[in-house]
Subunit: 150 residues, 2 copies
C-alpha cells in the first residue's frame, strides 16, 4: 500500500513570532504570540475577528518527521506505558503538523495576536480556520486514564 | 516576506474509504467511513481506541490550492456577504487541509471506522490525533451571526 500513498507540497502562509524560542514542554496556554501572515494574503483574514477563537495548523519544524518511533511515552512520563504515536500529541510524527485552538486577541492587518499557541518563534503556519463550536467540539467524550491524570 | 516562507513535503499516512464519492456540501455528520492507514504504521494506532473521538487531518485533493480567491461566500449562500477565506472552512485554501473531529467507532488493525468524516472516497489522510477535551474545545466562544444562522 505504501506505494499508492501520494506526497503533497505545502507552502507556509505565515510565521509565528513569539518570545518562546525553544519548546517548553508546557501547553503554552498563557503565551501571547503573533502570527505574521504573508502580506499577499491579508485580505483572506477579513472577518476572522468575528470569532473569539481560531484553529492554527503549523509545521513543527524542529520535530522529527518521516520515519519516527511508532510507540512513545506520552509527555515523556516514565509512569505511563508506551502507546501508539497517533494516540498522543507528540510533535514527532510522520507529518509534524501541530493543531492548536487559540484565543484571537486582535487582528491588525496581516498580524494575528493570539493567546495559547504552543509553537516556538519561527514556526511556519500552514492554515488558519475559524473555531466553530459544535463542529470542532464534542460534548460527550471518553479519554484514557493517562490523559485525565495529567 | 513571501520569499522567506518555506515549503514542506507531506506524505499521506492513509486513505479514506467511503461510499461518498463526490463532495456533498453537507457536514457529513452521519457518514460512516473507513480510514485505511499505511500498514507499516499500524503499531502507531495502539491505544487510540481509548478515545471516543479523534481529529483527522486530510488533504482535500479535489479542492483548489495555491492561488485561490481570497474572499468567498460562506457555503455558497448568496445572502451572506463575502468574507476572507481564512474566516471560513472553504476547501479551496492555499494549503487544502481539512480538519474533522470524528467519532471513532472501531479500530481493527490498520483500519479506523469513523462517524462524521466529511471527506470523499480516496482522500489522502495526513495525520490522526486524539481529541482531548479542554485542549481541543473551548467553553466560552463568540462566532459571527452568519455561523449561528446556518
Amino acid at each position: 500500500m505504501v506505494d499508492e500513498l501520494p506526497s503533497m507540497t505545502l507552502k507556509a502562509i505565515g510565521i509565528v513570532r513569539s518570545a518562546t524560542k525553544q519548546p517548553t514542554g508546557q501547553d503554552g496556554r498563557e503565551i501571547v504570540s503573533d502570527i505574521v501572515i504573508d502580506s499577499s494574503l491579508t485580505e483572506a483574514l477579513d472577518g476572522l475577528d468575528g470569532f473569539s477563537h481560531i484553529i492554527v495548523l503549523y509545521w513543527m519544524h524542529q520535530a522529527m518527521s518521516g520515519e519516527v518511533p511508532l510507540k512513545v511515552r506520552p509527555m515523556g512520563r516514565q509512569g505511563i506505558p508506551l502507546v501508539g504515536l497517533f494516540s498522543t500529541r507528540s510533535p514527532n510524527r510522520p507529518n509534524p503538523i501541530g493543531k492548536a485552538t487559540v484565543k484571537l486577541l486582535e487582528r491588525q492587518g496581516n498580524i494575528l495576536r493570539v493567546e495559547g499557541l504552543d509553537a516556538i518563534d519561527g514556526t511556519p503556519v500552514i492554515d488558519i480556520k475559524p473555531y466553530i463550536p459544535g463542529y470542532d467540539s464534542v460534548a460527550d467524550t471518553k479519554v484514557p486514564l493517562w490523559i485525565t491524570s495529567r
